[in-house]
Amino acid sequence: MIRLARLGMLAFFTGVSLAVGAEESGHLTADQLAKAVRSDSISIPTPGELFAALGKTGKTNWSGQYRGPIPVTYQNRAQIALNLGGLIADGFIAVEAKDSQQIKNIGSDIIKLAKALGVSEKLLGRGNSINEFADNNEWDTLQEELEATQNEVKLSMQSHADQDLVILVTLGGWIRGTQVVTSAIIQKYDERSARVLRQPALVHFMQSKINEVSPELRGEPLVKDVSQQLGEIEKLVSFPPDKAPTVEDVRKVNEAVGKAMTEIQSKEPPK
């Protein structure tokens, strides 16, 4: 109760103290910007943030963005990690579509892939929670649960000395999220929607993280291919800040991420 009162006071204080606070005189140097902290846990947005931005410009046909079931019997750990990220993005799509059954199906596949990587048994509990929240149509909580599931997978990877796979989960989620968003924009082009695609620094950061993984993992055909494609994708999402991408620009991004996604979910990894 005391905590509730504190929060109420805080909300009230926030409400009355809002002000245009910062002055526009401040400027940081290029050296300061280069030294800024960059971290997977805060510098890379979740698929939910991307979908929220797209949702601002009108109704999106989320269920029209579903894909067919993907194999959950991959043998390659890098491929499992990439697909795990993609599946979590699929979960966010199902939340946007408010589709309980689809969320349950995806939740079940997430657990299967996660178990194949040998991550924590605690994830089984997450699967049950996802089903329960889906049954009760608790969409906001489901989104939180998906984020928490993704983070628990990554945490478990870190504790099992699989730190290098973490960026692959993130990357898989970003590629699948971008595939869905570009596809939705092409179907109903709008300049404001298309502006969400401008993320050169984000792609550059993910590329730099992949360059930091072990030479063995970096040398795996799938990782090597996706990494090379990422360099191309970075150029495609480097729009000037004041210019919205055209529908043709969006189509090029869609084709590039679509190609990467096809490779990631293919049962036969590249040779």
Binding site: G8, L10, A11, S25, V37, D40, S41, I42, E147, P200
Partner: protein, 144 residues
């Protein structure tokens, strides 16, 4: 029940986020304070991102954290710090290093900055030590 949700989410996020390294007690307390501030914005529909950054603030210095944001979304960046930090401030810069206009909330060792990015891309959140001595802080953000 609805009013309890921010608390539940705060505890939930607190319990499940990925630590980059083992956190000190001071960082855990700072993170709780940051989540308290962020929880207040949940009443306005902001979702707390399940991620954070904890570090150390030094006198006459700031910590810069790079974030990637989407045009169309609204964001609040909330920070909490612990003694001997007395007062902090949060500000936001665009990718060229120019400070952007934000709404602000300041309450001694807690602060937040809110804004809607006009362009998608990279921004930088600065947490500044305004008063006090070197101490731990934590930054979280929320969006809608």
């Amino acid at each position: 029940m609805k009013r309890c949700l921010p608390i539940f989410l705060s505890l939930f996020v607190l319990g499940t986020s990925i630590p980059v390294r083992a956190q000190t007690d001071a960082e855990v307390r700072a993170r709780k304070d940051a989540l308290d501030v962020a929880a207040a914005f949940s009443n306005d529909g902001f979702k707390i991102r399940d991620g954070h950054w904890c570090g150390v603030l030094k006198p006459h210095d700031h910590v810069l954290v790079a974030v990637n944001l989407y045009a169309g979304n609204q964001y609040w960046f909330s920070a909490g710090a612990v003694e001997p930090v007395k007062k902090i401030a949060v500000s936001v810069y665009d990718e060229t290093g120019k400070q952007v206009t934000t709404e602000s909330y300041n309450d001694a060792e807690k602060a937040a900055a809110g804004f809607s990015p006009p362009n998608s891309g990279q921004y930088f959140v600065s947490v500044d030590l305004v008063e006090g001595e070197e101490g731990s802080f934590c930054l979280v953000y929320s969006y809608k």
